[in-house]
Symmetry: C2
Subunit: 191 residues, 2 copies
């Protein structure tokens, strides 16, 4: 009967609050409701230095690497400029996303925010450049793939399946890059 | 001799000052130095509702229309999907840029700022979508053009010059669209 008295709850309630706040801070997902005024807002999910941001980087790396591997596995890709360009863009995308994934892992391990003005600016410009190159390479490859497969119907003598898979992977990599770029640009503009 | 007396100038000088300020406000190019604190910053050059913004829109429209005209002047563009897609994307780009050019002209005529939150959001999303489509179409056409001209060397039986011109015009249209999109996104994020 003592457990149902209202006095029990105020005593038990306070301890979990700081732990939850610390966890929320560590994960960068706090909504800022429990924080005092003047404390900086937490990074939105997907920003650099958050688990979602790391997930986006790893997705970009994985799909760019898949596009690179599938395209490089065909023996005749160097005969088409657009496919060679896709390989080059995928290599650049892999290097960029892997570098930023390591930066994110470091930021998560030492529990530091990456909302430094210069870092966000570099991330935004790099995301913009690699994103434009990846989208361009994916579109150029898609144009060639559609030309071979639908317009000329010469899939029998080409690796249409591989070309299509590599193009699709490059597009997915770009779709994973777009949120990172938009979030970085937003956080650069809104400071 | 009366005209050279210094007393003449103080009488004539004051009127031009408010006129110049009004002109600077109307053109959206005031640097805000002469304004009291708390007054909203003027639109940056290139934002919607400024002469530079109108120039960017007209450049987008002109180059997209040029790409459309040059590509449509070849009789065999429908045989290649990427070229048909370029025509479709150029039509969309023309319509979008022309609409926003009219909005800019209206805003300039009635001397109103277009920094409305909903308007900027619509401009940004529309710019992003048309920009992605135009870049994709330009890259796909470039891939095909390079395939025809450099990889297969069959320019003799194709309109390589027209395809190259249309692709270049589409790229220039995208280059004129990028600043509009970035400025709109910046002003949306920084409010």
């Amino acid at each position: 009967m003592r457990a149902s008295r209202p006095a029990v709850h105020p005593v038990e309630a306070p301890p979990p609050a700081p732990v939850a706040a610390a966890q929320a801070q560590a994960q960068g997902e706090g909504d800022g409701v429990a924080h005092p005024r003047g404390v900086r807002m937490k990074d939105p999910p997907g920003a650099p230095g958050t688990p979602a941001g790391l997930g986006l980087r790893l997705a970009q790396f994985f799909f760019a690497a898949a596009a690179l591997a599938v395209m490089a596995s065909t023996n005749d890709f160097p005969s088409v400029s657009a496919f060679s360009y896709l390989v080059a863009a995928a290599i650049l995308q892999c290097l960029w996303s892997l570098s930023l994934a390591f930066v994110d892992i470091y930021a998560l391990l030492v529990k530091r925010s990456l909302r430094n003005a210069r870092a966000v600016c570099i991330f935004t410009v790099g995301d913009g450049i690699t994103g434009t190159l990846t989208l361009g390479a994916a579109c150029a490859s898609a144009g060639i793939t559609v030309l071979i497969g639908n317009d000329l119907n010469i899939c029998a003598e080409n690796h249409c399946a591989s070309f299509e898979t590599a193009t699709a992977m490059a597009f997915i990599s770009w779709f994973a890059l777009a949120p990172s770029c938009i979030l970085n640009f937003w956080s650069m503009a809104s400071r």
